[in-house]
């Protein structure tokens, strides 16, 4: 067993995380968290829907942004997937998906302002990059044989439609449906920066300690995600997509001179703007590197590696909650399965930001709340996907039960897909470390946010660029590892 490359790689990651643990700060320093946590718990268990005249509107906006954003992303992604063999396209896609939707939103906020376009593009652009990659992989995996027998003179589009697309359709559809759930989460999170979605009110009431409202908003959001399969029927989708653009709201009118100012002034490095020329550029860049980029990079890497391993462990513990091999298939099993589904919806849909705040109250500021918040959120997602994968496995009727079934039957068979998912998630965990400034952990994302709050877009752009390069690097490394370990990436693996 120790000779297996998969095992060695896994142990390597665990060892690296342990080394990072030694260097990270995990001190527990809170004193009396219970007053605030008690109020939070009371509020969340007694949600109040009364004070929310804006509720209906927020739900509609959340859905509208998700549908338009994911729809545009999918359409653009599909077109890009067809030309994905070109290096330029692949690089562009890797770059646009390496930037978190919150950062896209913060960039567009600078020139489109509070216009719906800001939120729509913030979802559509990174999603297009992701869709392009995954659609291309799905299409590549379809059998090339049918395309050799199409009659001479068949158009490119019909040939594609009747050969590749028809085969790949179920995979394309199921992946797109999964991204719709991600889109709902993204749409909600965009509320944190000012889009009129559920996140807008969630952040406000949370900031003010109005926990009964927080509870109500969270319940509503969980319900939206948990019932996605019931209301997002394939037949209804065209209707939703047609209606969504009209339900985004007005926002404020765009001033187009802001757009040109952004590109010709705001993001031009300060020394160039001041006419100091290239000579001034070197110390300016050096200052950003030494004070922001390198310390940020270090914290980001430390946090990411620990959170990655914690996510993996949690996912392996959680997947039986939604696996029919453990919950059972009969009536009682379905109830257990539904409960497990509910638990994972809560874990993966609660914004990490909220989790981090709650854990900060419990343990005080350190990397601990950050690691646990990231692990809960991402472990919930991977646990859900691995659990679904396990339901495709057929066990022998006399297969062992309980812990033996877990340790000897299912986990070994699921370990490959699990690792593939975890490697996909690596880059995402890294992007998510951005939001943890409240914990006093200065990751790269924290410095990006600082630059934006200081309205220094030249600095923000340099830091975003560095963040994107780091993400691309991790993405490449993850792909190499997947290839080396021969982990098949298929449609149900999400990037």
């Amino acid at each position: 067993m120790w000779h297996s490359a998969t095992v060695r790689t896994s142990l390597g990651f665990v060892a690296l995380a342990l080394v990072c643990l030694l260097m990270a700060d995990f001190q527990i320093s809170a004193h009396d968290p219970w007053a605030e946590l008690g109020r939070l718990f009371l509020g969340v268990t007694r949600p109040s829907f009364s004070a929310m005249d804006y509720l209906g509107e927020a739900v509609v906006r959340t859905l509208a942004f998700a549908f338009v954003g994911v729809g545009l992303g999918a359409a653009a992604g599909l077109m890009l997937a067809l030309v994905f063999r070109h290096r330029a396209v692949r690089t562009t896609c890797a770059f646009i998906r390496a930037i978190h939707e919150l950062f896209w939103a913060l960039i567009f906020l600078q020139f489109f302002g509070l216009h719906p376009l800001t939120g729509v593009l913030a979802i559509a652009i990174p999603y297009a990059g992701i869709f392009a990659k995954v659609y291309a992989e799905i299409l590549d995996e379809s059998d090339p044989q049918p395309s050799t027998v199409v009659p001479h003179g068949t158009g490119v589009v019909s040939a594609l439609a009747y050969t590749r697309f028809s085969q790949a359709w179920p995979h394309l559809a199921s992946y797109t449906a999964y991204r719709l759930e991600c889109g709902l989460r993204s749409s909600t999170v965009l509320g944190f920066v000012g889009m009129p979605t559920l996140g807008f009110y969630l952040e406000s009431s949370f900031a003010q300690g109005q926990y009964a409202t927080v509870g109500a908003l969270l319940l509503l959001f969980y319900a939206l995600i948990a019932t996605l399969k019931l209301w997002a029927r394939p037949r209804l989708l065209p209707l939703y997509l047609l209606a969504a653009p009209f339900l985004l709201g007005d926002g404020l009118p765009i001033r187009w001179q802001s757009v040109s100012r952004f590109f010709t002034e705001d993001i031009v490095p300060e020394p160039l703007r001041q006419g100091e020329g290239v000579a001034g550029l070197v110390p300016w860049l050096g200052d950003i590197l030494a004070n922001d980029a390198l310390p940020g990079l270090w914290n980001t890497l430390l946090l990411t590696q620990i959170a990655l391993v914690a996510t993996g462990l949690l996912a392996l513990m959680l997947y039986p909650l939604v696996s029919q091999h453990f919950t059972g298939r009969h009536a009682a099993g379905r109830v257990r399965g539904a409960l497990g589904h509910g638990v994972l919806v809560i874990l993966r849909s609660t914004p990490e930001y909220l989790l981090a705040f709650i854990l900060l109250q419990l343990w005080g500021p350190s990397m601990l709340p950050a690691v646990v918040a990231l692990a809960i959120h991402n472990g919930g997602i991977i646990g859900h996907l691995v659990g679904q994968r396990s339901n495709q496995i057929t066990l022998r009727p006399d297969a062992p039960r309980g812990i033996e079934r877990y340790a000897f039957e299912l986990t070994p068979r699921l370990y490959g897909p699990f690792l593939a998912l975890l490697f996909y998630r690596w880059e995402i965990i890294m992007r998510e470390t951005a939001i943890l400034g409240i914990l006093g952990i200065a990751t790269l994302g924290f410095h990006v946010d600082s630059a934006i709050q200081e309205i220094r877009f030249d600095r923000a752009m340099i830091l975003i660029l560095i963040t994107a390069l780091l993400n691309i690097g991790v993405d490449v490394l993850a792909r190499r590892l997947r290839n080396r370990l021969r982990l098949r990436h298929t449609a149900s693996c999400e990037p």
Partner: protein
Amino acid sequence: MPQRLSFVLPVALPLLLAAPLVAADPFVFTAIPDEDETRLQQRFQKVADYLADELEVEVRFVPVKSYAAAVTAFRNDQVQLAWFGGLSGVQARERVPGSRALAQGVEDAEFRTYFIAHESTGLDEDTGLVDAMRDMTFTFGSKGSTSGRLMPEHYLRQAFGEAPEAVFSRVGFSGNHSRTASLVASGAYQLGALNYTVWENELEAGNIDLDGVEVVWKTPTYPDYQWTIRGGIDERFGEGFADRVQQALLDMDDPDLLESFPRSGFIPVDNDDYEVIRQVGQQLDILD
């Protein structure tokens, strides 16, 4: 689904873009989200109605999520008037030529930051910024806040001769003043700095237990919040419009309106009154 989309989008997207562009321009204002954001809309809708009556134009309030977003909306001419903090006001006026500070709250001429400490630190009321604070944990409010970030950092550097990151074992940014109060009250952070009006409001509302948390230092006074209007506004809304807005703000005496800020009234102010904020911002390298 993706193929159907390609039919939908060419129709829907131009509509999405065009719809908001045809509306007439109202006079739009915003406010930095410094406290009680959930009631911002409610609070400022009353102010919008008041201004609409006084100025006889359509007035709209738009809530934003961060200090930077307020400055950006002002700069991009999506809002023409804003209730800024000291620092955000300076940032905004530097970026929009001709813009001017119109009025500040009576309290804003002499604003303060309170430094607070959890009882476990053993620091007594009014101890000042002392060496015993070294290596404790400390939280600011929002990164762009005058009373939650700029001025406390200034006084910390003055007292300790070093950056806060070097003085304290950990420096966080809670996001807003109320959260700073609750994080220090629970002992999650040992020390914090916040807007004194927020502290006193929370105290009055009974959200703070004085056995657990104490004010250890009050800063000297500095100018803070103010109304700022964009340059060139008179060309759009008529001669003397900025002066009329100023008069309307100064005339605001309905306690119901004033309570939402909360201020006891407004007094005239001009850009030069915030010179001290600009200098501190430059010293701390928050302003260019």
